[in-house]
């Protein structure tokens, strides 16, 4: 049975288990004189039956689906004759795709070696068997679970308590998914990163000043030795982020100050959502705007005043990214400024200070730590932003501080390395994960510091 049909079947079985559980609990109750004499309402007995039916079946179903392919593949590869057995992970995936192509009929068996054809037959049988066994197991477990729960319906059992404790466990699992996600991120990048550092030295990666991740396809190829120095990428990322912050911080901060101190309530009600619209626009739209409107405009303008600018420039990406970040800075600063107690404002104004003086000399210093926290969060966002730089910043890893030149960033390289044809196991593909690790660590540190600062500061006035 196909997994797509099995899932609805489980749902139906759960429904039946619920209905039967409900009926039985009423039946058990009737000789006692009605459901008043049960420990819990029939609904809870029924729900318990449904849990027993559905949960184990779904867990088995999920695990089976997750690992079925890997196990079958390993078995198929192990069945290959000696001469076809792959010596590297790259070869293995090639042979596997060949086998599955033969199995699905995309490749005519006539053009494949004998061993591959045999393996493809094995693959088909294993897949069929696996599907059959999974369906059988899942359905048996569901029915068995429902049956046991059904048998255990008795007036003295407090089904509500049991249902509630199961529910609480499910809720906990959902919350724990956050930890699992973080672990997933860490492990998925750590493994590949370790493999990367087996191929490329640690020092070359962190201290090298040249980035050109081509690796030799043939061993005897000339001049295809890749170099993996991440400094140009890091500098490019910082350059673009710096430009973005130069745009976003003053504009965001001044807008927040104006909106919180000067603007009338009506004006604030109109302008604030408009500013927040900037945050809701998808980044691919900003990227489009940067690449097709801003970058050519900057190139033309630079040419007009006698400078040379490339059509993809750090400036274009940075400016547009700055616009994107304005609402983050403004709404975070707005929160922090509003958290400063009114008494401090009143005190300053009563001493005869103007509003501007109150703002710059009293409120701003008081709000500064919180604002810094907000700015750090914005920097982290700028460093991790992908689409704008992918579309507008360029691919060439130039080590330059000139904003009119094309630079490349960590995120751009991750995208270019992992889209399109991938060579398995090459330093080139693995380097993307090393860059991802870097990106994760840097933004994580920034976020932790920023969140800590913002939270600590907020507590001061509460």
């Amino acid at each position: 049975m196909q997994p797509a049909n099995l899932f609805p079947l489980i749902v139906v079985l759960v429904g039946i288990a619920f209905a039967l559980g409900y009926a039985r609990s009423r039946a058990v109750a009737s000789p006692l004189g009605g459901i008043r004499h049960l420990k819990s309402l029939p609904f809870y007995y029924a729900t318990r039956a449904a849990f027993w039916c559905g949960l184990p079946a779904l867990i088995i179903f999920g695990f089976w689906l997750s690992f079925e392919d890997k196990i079958i593949q390993t078995m198929v590869v192990a069945s290959l004759p000696e001469d076809l057995r792959p010596d590297s992970a790259g070869r293995a995936s090639l042979i596997l795709s060949q086998i599955s192509n033969v199995a699905s009929g995309a490749l005519n068996p006539k053009y494949a070696p004998e061993g591959i054809v045999e393996a493809s037959k094995l693959l088909t049988t294993l897949r069929d068997e696996s599907k059959f066994m999974m369906s059988l197991l899942v359905i048996c477990v569901a029915i068995l679970g429902a049956f046991v729960a059904w048998l255990r319906i008795a007036p003295h059992i407090n089904a509500r308590e049991k249902v509630e404790s199961t529910l609480r466990k499910i809720f906990f699992m959902c919350a724990a998914l956050a930890i699992l996600t973080t672990l997933g991120i860490v492990f998925s990048v750590i493994f590949e990163t370790v493999r990367f550092f087996n191929k490329v030295s640690f020092f070359e990666f962190f201290l090298g000043t040249s980035w050109s991740p081509q690796t030799a396809i043939r061993a005897d190829q000339v001049g295809a030795e890749g170099s993996f120095g991440m400094i140009p990428l890091f500098v490019g990322t910082l350059l673009i982020s710096a430009i973005a912050m130069i745009v976003a911080v003053p504009v965001g901060l001044m807008s927040a100050i104006y909106l919180s101190e000067y603007a009338s309530k009506r004006m604030r009600g109109i302008i604030k959502p408009l500013l927040e619209m900037l945050a809701g626009i998808p980044t691919v739209v900003y990227g489009f705007f940067a690449a097709l409107t801003v970058a050519p405009f900057i190139a033309d303008a630079a040419q007009a005043i006698g400078l040379s600018a490339s059509t993809e420039s750090a400036l274009a990406a940075g400016l547009v990214m700055g616009v994107m970040i304005i609402p983050f800075v403004s709404s975070l600063s707005d929160d922090v400024i509003n958290a400063v107690p009114q008494t401090m404002r009143d005190g300053s104004l009563a001493l005869g200070a103007t509003q501007a003086e109150t703002m710059t000399k009293v409120i701003f210093p008081a709000a500064l730590p919180g604002i810094m926290g907000g700015i750090l969060l914005a920097v982290s966002r700028a460093i991790g932003e992908t689409m704008i730089v992918v579309m507008a910043a360029g691919l060439a890893a130039n080590l330059t501080a000139n904003p009119l030149e094309a630079v490349t960033t960590v995120t751009v390289q991750i995208v270019t390395l992992l889209t399109g044809d991938q060579e398995f196991d090459s330093a080139k593909t693995l380097s993307a994960f090393a860059l991802g690790m870097m990106l994760f660590v840097v933004t994580l540190v920034l976020n932790i510091v920023a969140l800590h600062v913002v939270r600590k500061y907020r507590e001061q006035y509460e």
Binding site: F171, T181, I185, P282, V285, V415, L418, F433, L451
Partner: protein, 424 residues
């Protein structure tokens, strides 16, 4: 006496300076807001200016003589011979009649004015109704890409006109005679992607986005709400709870591309799920939007006043009953609002989907969760990077479609907040 007079003078002078400073400060604020809003206006006008023409298609209406002999059909009753017939010839012949100034030898150049898929359209029409063979038929075809660019953007210098001068003259004639017309581009909403800009549409990407969003919503909303309930109502104050909270806050600020790496390593490489399918896209976006949904759902739960809980507890409800029967329904509007905003974020997300292979060129409209698909933002990315200029107007038009959805979702969220939010 004179001392205080001097002082007053000093103050008056400094007052002027201070007031000037005050006005300047205020001006900076106004300037900042004006700058941000003008960026918004420029962005929108730029995209609408580039994209409105994407909603117009240029068609040419011709009287086509379906002469079996010219089309090299030997036996009109044989479907195979119908399929193999020459459908280009009658179209070019009809064009030649419509453009009297074109000479003999110009057939090839004339043929370039018509969309390469036009003969396929004609073939489908003939196979559908073979009885139209032999009689003249008035039929409408899409023009070729270059013709369309010429008709729409002849005086826009950013577009390069690829038609020869002869061809331009013929197109002018056709426009004057009313044969070439602009119409609402329904194909844009009915077609999948295509190598030919004039027949490329967003339907495939829209269905792909829809399927991905369905997966995301079905997983992210229940899990997010359940996690929020646990953390807000049941979690004990201990290290584990703190750790979960720190994790959620951090995940909300992790760059989206990292989730793409996670999806690639876990869902595709470890679990062996297929690349570029809505199922994996939805899973990745679920993990990405969960923190947003959890954080907003917690805020919604927090805003339910304790009196409600106490009243329910007072009449003997268990903690779980209090939460499920009383707190949850009251917090639901807030949770839904937060989820809609999270979904809007997910709908516009591109970077993680690039890594799980949703950038593939896919013509077919996906049928299910495990069919290769692309999504709207990725389609925009693909078209924006395409060398043909005609794809730029497609990309802008697709952006307008995407923004319409996003604005709609946000408007819905705001409306719901206004309508359903209760204040105690």
């Amino acid at each position: 006496m004179s001392n205080s007079h001097e002082q007053a003078e000093l103050v008056r002078k400094s007052l002027k300076r201070r007031y000037r400073k005050e006005r300047r400060f205020r001006l900076y604020g106004i300037l900042a807001i004006a700058l941000a809003l003008s960026a918004l206006v420029i962005l929108f006008t730029d995209i609408i200016g580039k994209g409105y023409s994407g909603f117009i298609k240029t068609t040419v209406t011709l009287e086509v003589r379906l002469d079996p002999e010219m089309m090299e059909i030997e036996d009109p009753s044989d479907p195979e011979s119908l399929r193999r017939a020459n459908y280009g010839a009658p179209i070019v012949e009809a064009l030649k009649r419509a453009v009297p100034s074109a000479g003999d030898g110009d057939e090839k150049a004339l043929g370039r004015l018509i969309n390469p898929y036009a003969s396929g359209t004609l073939r489908d029409a003939v196979i559908d109704r073979p009885e139209i063979l032999g009689s003249p038929q008035k039929m409408t075809f899409l023009t070729s890409d270059d013709t369309s660019v010429y008709v729409k953007h002849a005086d826009d210098t950013s577009y390069s006109i690829k038609l020869s001068e002869d061809q331009q003259r013929w197109v002018d004639e056709l426009v004057q005679s009313g044969a070439i017309q602009g119409a609402f581009n329904d194909e844009f909403f009915l077609n999948g992607d295509s190598r030919e800009p004039t027949s490329a549409g967003v339907l495939g990407a829209m269905v792909g986005s829809l399927l991905t969003m369905v997966v995301t919503l079905l997983l992210a909303f229940p899990i997010g709400v359940a996690a929020a309930i646990y953390l807000e109502e049941f979690a004990p104050q201990n290290k584990l709870t703190d750790f979960i909270e720190v994790n959620i806050n951090n995940l909300a600020a992790v760059p989206s591309i990292i989730f793409g790496l996670l999806g690639l390593a876990v869902f595709i490489n470890l679990f062996g799920l297929p690349r570029s399918v809505p199922l994996v896209g939805g899973l990745v976006l679920t993990l990405m939007t969960l923190p947003t949904i959890i954080i907003s759902s917690r805020a919604a739960i927090k805003s339910v006043p304790p009196s409600i809980r106490e009243a329910a507890e007072g009449i003997g409800a268990s903690k779980m009953q209090v939460v499920l029967h009383h707190v949850l329904p009251l917090a639901m509007p807030g949770m839904l609002t937060g989820s809609i905003i999270g979904m809007a974020q997910a709908l516009g997300e591109t970077a993680p989907l690039l890594l799980i292979g949703m950038v593939a060129f896919i013509v077919d409209v996906p049928d299910g969760l495990t069919d290769p698909a692309t999504v709207l933002p990725v389609q925009i990315f693909l078209w924006a990077g395409s060398p043909e200029l005609a794809f730029i107007e497609r990309a802008s038009a697709a952006i307008m479609v995407l923004l319409t959805f996003l604005i709609g979702m946000n408007a819905l969220a705001i409306w719901m907040r206004r309508r359903l939010e209760r204040r105690w």
